[in-house]
Symmetry: C2
Subunit: 378 residues, 2 copies
Amino acid sequence: MSVSDNSRSPKHEFAPLKNDRLLRAMRFEPIDTTPVWMMRQAGRYLPEYKATRAEAGDFMSLCRDTARATEVTMQPLRRMDLDAAILFSDILTIPDAMGLGLYFETGEGPKFKHPIRQQADLDRLPTLDVNDSLDYVMHAVTSIRKELNGQVPLFGFSGSPWTLATYMIEGGSSKDYRYTKGFLYSNPEFLHQLLDKLAIAVIDYLDAQVVAGAQVLQIFDSWGGALGHRQFIDFSHAYNKRIVAELKQRHPDVPVVLFTKGGGLWLDVQADSAADALGLDWTMPLDRARQVLTESQRDLTKRHKTLQGSKAIQGNLDPATLYGSPESIRSEVKLMLDGAYAGGDKTGYIANLGHGITQWVNPDNAKVFVDAVHDYQI
Amino acid sequence: MSVSDNSRSPKHEFAPLKNDRLLRAMRFEPIDTTPVWMMRQAGRYLPEYKATRAEAGDFMSLCRDTARATEVTMQPLRRMDLDAAILFSDILTIPDAMGLGLYFETGEGPKFKHPIRQQADLDRLPTLDVNDSLDYVMHAVTSIRKELNGQVPLFGFSGSPWTLATYMIEGGSSKDYRYTKGFLYSNPEFLHQLLDKLAIAVIDYLDAQVVAGAQVLQIFDSWGGALGHRQFIDFSHAYNKRIVAELKQRHPDVPVVLFTKGGGLWLDVQADSAADALGLDWTMPLDRARQVLTESQRDLTKRHKTLQGSKAIQGNLDPATLYGSPESIRSEVKLMLDGAYAGGDKTGYIANLGHGITQWVNPDNAKVFVDAVHDYQI
């Protein structure tokens, strides 16, 4: 794997961070209350988001519009006491920059005009200069970081190689990953070539986001859960592990969250990485997750013969919980936090949903969630 | 829960069973080789299925046509050395019989004309006389059983109450279960009313299938994996457990398989039921599944203060494995069976895919799978 220069620091001067609750929790330092944010917190459940998006035109135009991408990132922070912001962008910017022709069809999700189906398609993929073809992302990161003015830390993010590969090969989202799994089982080398190219791009992309101002990173392995156990290790986790290791080498102080939707059964697998935190969907109770991670830490320490640090946990309220009454949201939050802290440590946990907030949620209920997390006495 | 008369035996005389490998494995009795069948084995990957379906017209017409439903059930058995047949039908026959107006839109899956969205919809649902409104299913069961002539045992099946409820409330398949989870979190009592009605219908339906000739039963909880941990227990498993308990009381000798897609994390939950076997998708390695079940058996024995029997396991090859070469299929099958028998028992396992076989599979590869299972030396 060849990657560009390393150990680069942010190239801008930014205001000092006022709320470092989330970063402290990830380092297992004492916290006053539980940090909380929401995946897709800048999204269609907010009328102000819909208004800004309508001004921008389509979704990718909004991502490319520095001022408006900054605006929508800030919108949820004005309504709610969130402990992090996240760059407004899409996980498919990398394949788009590689020339696959991203477009969105109403009600159908993202599509690619030129899916990867044969060796020639693969050979045609360029090595990205992320500061050139994805410069709009870096501009957004810097602009948002300035606008935040130290209020909360800013997440940068990327899709995982496996997740990006499924979109690139299928040509969009998929129910059964017919073509991607076709390669996996009939021509794994082809898939590995693509995943390798993507891993290099993701490293450069996240590195550049840090240089532009991102203070914490998340890798979204949205479709990791579609794989079998061994296939998850070989075709998804192996690449995520490589990416995190390289990023931690370049930016030791920038924490990384690894989120695999449907990855509860593989917490032990994901623990074998330099990630600071693991994100979970709602299928796994957090007391069990903590127990699995404690055991993994012990096993990995033995195996690697060096002390392995604890992994923070992020998650995992079912976004549909926010369809319920304020009382039921508070009661679900309490159960979740009881589980998160059941292991005894009163830190090492970031509250979040187990997947993105849906467009049908009443924003008042999102605020109930955020406040309920903060009101919980650790 | 009120249910109709119990302890009824099959009302027909059938030929004695020649191949009882699958039933023996479920009882943990010695077997000569591993029993194997495939979910959706009568399906679109077979050209002869497509021909028969074209003659019948649409999918539901095929289900209602006793002779053709029998024909398509038998088709895979002619090509492959399968150890079970499964009734050709759909999981949505119950809601259809309840008057929801099932129809299929090309490429979009099943839909209902009259989804359940308010109390009046719920109150309107009739208590089914399954031998009347679902008589075509019972006719198919009896006809298939006769046609099998003792070759292999015949599975009857039903969708689980939770899975049926999602289709009935959403009006079709769904990505985020907006309405169903809306009820779950905002008006759980409404959902429980529906689930209770469905549980009664499923008991009567499966009971009637046994009386008509089914020798083993499977409950498909296809969407159980969409739930949170506690919600799975309360809104899915509680009903499945009640159904299995009632069926085992009426038909103690008819084994029941409980299959929850995405249910690997809840094997211990599902073990707390009278099911004889638990079905697994491909996300969980079978050696770990066996280990979890052994621990659950111990815990449950302690908790209930009576010895709990072992649960057989069914599954769990990723259907996409069949896109690969014969060599790679054989190697995946070997790894799967090594895992299945890693606990030491050389029985208690039924080989299957982790979900239905897809329409894109070459039938020759399905045969490679079946033969590879039988060729494996236990």
